[in-house]
């Protein structure tokens, strides 16, 4: 057994940060990506998921404690991180979105420095640019998924530095960032832990040794212990545990989708593949084709892990250790995606790391002959064109959002006017309790209103009937005057949650209660084109 990086031995691959031009390339990528991503800063398309973290952060600012005072099955990291941003920079959607800009630019720089360790500067730069153009823009929303990917990328970077230097500080940092990943998204954090376990096993099998593993474990424990201590002191530790394991029993049933599921509606499929001339359809197919490529990349990484473990054992390639580590991390993260929801969205969240495999494919060394030599230029052209087209399509979509809406949390832009926000702000007071049902917590945040219950959204098939009863009880007890009800929500279910049991769609006690006790005052169209019914209690007049 030998240490991977003996102090006296020359490092197999030079840390990129030691080379000044490399560092400047990374900095330039970061700055350029920041500027590029500003185009998306305040474009809001009223996605159901955006708003969960924002509403949670808002509740924390009001003194509430997650799990004890409001329900969430996320680990608490993103709520507190966003609340901290609001506390420091002001409570506005633009502040939260600026963090997305920072994350997106960091992904580009981190992918560059990780890819650069085995790839040419041109390929590594290309990957950085493609990450900036396609990853965060594919879902420019305030989500815990981006926070967790940020921590996961940092953990991976630190792990690589640990491998290169054998220094305790890098091992400690890798463990700490892995735990921050866990504290932002439990599945991804668990996947990252698993990735490190796979790496340790692969190194052991290869007759190598990853040094300072105790520092890694200690680093991983520190954030967890701090968090447990904090929630223990707030008497929320029991509820935190039950909330964090809640998805194991309730999330998967409704969120089970085929591997690489694209989440396209029939209209979207028709528009993409059946509308326009052949040339137009070919271009559209090219632009969406990265969605088919990205889910394959971690599978390739799993195969490469076998290959590079053998190479590491044979000591035939100086980059084998680095590649085994990266492949192990990707395999662990792949498991986290498969267990949670294996749709394209969840693959894109992890694309900054998955794109490393793409970089290796484009820059494969030692195979510069035969078929590989012939097809490599075409593969490179395809990647540049397809991923570039995808990025351009996302940019054009964002630039097309001209309609400005002044909300209580700042100015937003969208393609269509959001009548629901405007009308709700005109007829409710800031801080008033209203029910937005079933699933658009962003409205609470943007209109400055709050949910009457512990729940900011309700997903049929995932949330339980007991939770539905709690919502009904809160409507009765708190004398809620207004409900914003999306009556056609069921139409979204087959597209986004095809695994939802039919019984959960048919039986909706909250909807029944709303229909019995509230009257329709107005039908309002959201920026995303969905209709919301503005409803008032039957014993009150419509505004």
């Amino acid at each position: 057994m030998s240490a991977v990086a003996e102090p006296k031995a020359p490092p197999a691959i030079g840390p990129a940060s030691k080379l000044v031009p490399e560092r400047w390339t990374a900095v330039l990528l970061f700055i350029g990506s920041c500027l590029y991503l500003l185009a998306f800063l305040n474009v809001v398309n009223m996605e159901p998921d955006e708003g969960i973290v924002l509403s949670g952060a808002q509740r924390i600012l009001e003194g509430q404690i997650p799990y004890r005072d409001f329900f969430s099955f996320y680990t608490p990291g993103s709520f507190y991180f966003t609340a901290l941003l609001f506390k420091v920079f002001g409570n506005s959607i633009v502040v939260a979105r600026a963090a997305m800009v920072f994350f997106g630019a960091s992904f580009a720089a981190l992918t560059y420095v990780l890819a650069r360790r085995t790839c040419s500067q041109a390929i590594a730069s290309l990957m950085g640019i493609l990450v900036a153009m396609t990853v965060v823009p594919s879902r420019f929303l305030v989500l815990h998924n981006w926070d967790s990917t940020f921590w996961a990328c940092l953990a991976t970077y630190c792990a690589v530095r640990w491998l290169e230097s054998s220094q305790r500080v890098w091992a400690f940092a890798a463990g700490s960032f892995a735990s921050l990943t866990f504290l932002s998204e439990q599945s991804k954090g668990a996947g990252l832990y698993l990735g490190f376990v796979i790496a340790i096993l692969a190194f052991a099998i290869s007759g190598e040794r990853l040094p300072r593993i105790r520092a890694l474990i200690l680093g991983a424990l520190c954030p967890l212990i701090l968090t447990l201590t904090y929630f223990g002191s707030r008497r929320a530790i029991g509820s935190m545990f039950s909330a964090c394991v809640w998805p194991l029993r309730h999330y998967s049933a409704a969120n089970r989708v085929p591997f690489g599921h694209q989440n396209w509606s029939d209209e979207a499929r028709e528009m993409l593949f059946h509308a326009g001339s052949f040339g137009i359809r070919a271009v559209k197919f090219l632009a969406v084709s990265p969605g088919f490529v990205v889910p394959v990349l971690p599978l390739i990484a799993a195969g490469l892990l076998v290959f590079w473990t053998i190479q590491l054992r044979r000591k035939q390639n100086p980059t084998a250790a680095y590649r085994v580590l990266i492949c192990s991390v990707i395999c662990g993260l792949l498991v986290s995606v498969i267990v949670v929801r294996a749709d394209i969205i969840h693959f894109m969240y992890l694309a900054p790391l998955f794109y490393l495999v793409l970089a290796w494919i484009l820059d494969v060394q030692g195979l510069n002959r035969g078929v590989v030599k012939v097809i490599r230029p075409y593969v490179r052209v395809y990647v540049v064109v397809a991923f570039g087209l995808m990025g351009v399509a996302l940019l054009v979509s964002a630039l097309g959002a001209h309609v400005q809406v002044e909300t209580r949390r700042g100015l937003i832009r969208s393609r269509e006017k959001d009548f629901a926000i405007v009308y709700t702000q005109d007829h409710t007071m800031a801080g008033e309790e209203i029910l937005v049902y079933p699933y658009l917590p962003l409205y609470y945040y943007l209109t400055g209103t709050r949910s009457p219950s512990r729940y900011d959204f309700f997903q049929p098939g995932m949330n339980t009937s007991e939770q539905a009863q709690e919502i009904i009880h809160s409507l009765q007890a708190d004398g809620v005057r207004t409900v914003l009800f999306e009556s056609a929500f069921a139409e979204k279910i087959p597209i986004s949650w095809p695994g939802t049991p039919l019984s959960a769609i048919v039986k909706d006690p909250v909807a029944d209660y709303i229909v019995r006790n509230f009257r329709v005052c107005r039908s309002l169209r959201s920026a995303a084109g969905w209709d919301f019914l503005y409803m008032s209690r039957k014993d009150l007049q419509c505004p």
Partner: protein, 426 residues
Amino acid sequence: MSVSTPKAASAPAEKHSSIRNSRAHDLLLGTLPLLFAANLCLWSVFFPEARRGHADFRQLYVAGYMVRTGQSHQLYDYGVQHQLEDELVSPEKLSLPFNHLAFEALLFVPLSLLPYRWAYPASILVNLSLLLISYRLLSPYLPDLRQRWRWFPLCLFLAFLPAQIALMQGQDSILLLLILAAAYALLIKHRDLAAGVVAGLGLFKFQLVLPFAAIYLLRRRWKLCAGFAGSAIVTASVSAALVGFEQMSHYVRSLGSMSVGLTSSADQFRYGIFPGHMANVRGLIYGLAAERWPNTYMQIATVTLSVIIFGLVALSLRKEVHPAALALPATVVAVLVSYHVLTHDLSVLLIPALLTLESTGAGLHARKLLVWSAVAVYLAPLCLLIAPRHFYVVALPIALLLSALLQPHAISRGPETDVGLGSELN
């Protein structure tokens, strides 16, 4: 060990084949981290559910409880078993019936003294110990693997998916693995009678052990058969004494309804037996023809094909084959033609797969086929994670390994050729 011919092969050929083995070993070494990761994930998902009662162990636990509390005369009564499982383990709509010979229930009496929540982890520890003992028994015959990496054979034992499934389910397949490993070790030492006695103790999974013994019967290994018959009489007598003749005949009838009588999806769901999930001839036929053929056709095809395969194996094996080496095709064919093989039952394939990976003697082509078919058998159960509904395809690499073992010179003639027996024989 070599499953194959003498060490007479020429030096360059030896070197070449060693490289081939090395590639196969390297592939398995490289795959081990992924296998461990997959097992870890399965455990993290399965263990909490199993501890709540959703594991096969519930039927074995209740069987032990029934024997301990004097209710063994109702051991095969579906209603009583269902009621006790609901009371002692967890309420479920359907019960997993105890469908093994009754003597096995005696083994679970000690575990039934614990509450189910603790009996289940205890069963894991017991099974893990049995797995490690099996490893110890076979370890002397895996020098090549150990030479590659000290922990290689142990890791192969621990990472084999069917063995892990058996551990998770609290199943008895690892006990059968131990029994067959012990029989193999005894056969190497020419203790055929003892080997037969030990193999007979595996009759709680008679569908696997009977074809195994039948190969030896057809090869006229009388001592082994005598030992096996002795064990069979004892286990049958103990079983009959435990449950009575009425329950024994009820057991035989219930076996009929769980096998040939398993005609509809509702029946399959009731007993938790899905032929399409079996990696044997029956599974393959059900998997390929379930939607097209009536049940009777599939039964006939299964029996016919199984008999043909078994007959071909019996005819192909030469008289002079060493009884220990005979255990490898005997185990593989037992899995393939047995009527009822679930994923965890494939644990016994560790014996032929690992011993075949040690293969060093056969001719170049034969060895290549042997080693790579063993690799295929080892990795094929991963199908459970990728395409569980098509698990029947795992029967194909098993058939490939069987055909590789039946090649001329693939299996040794006797101890003088070392054939898998290595230094133990010398």
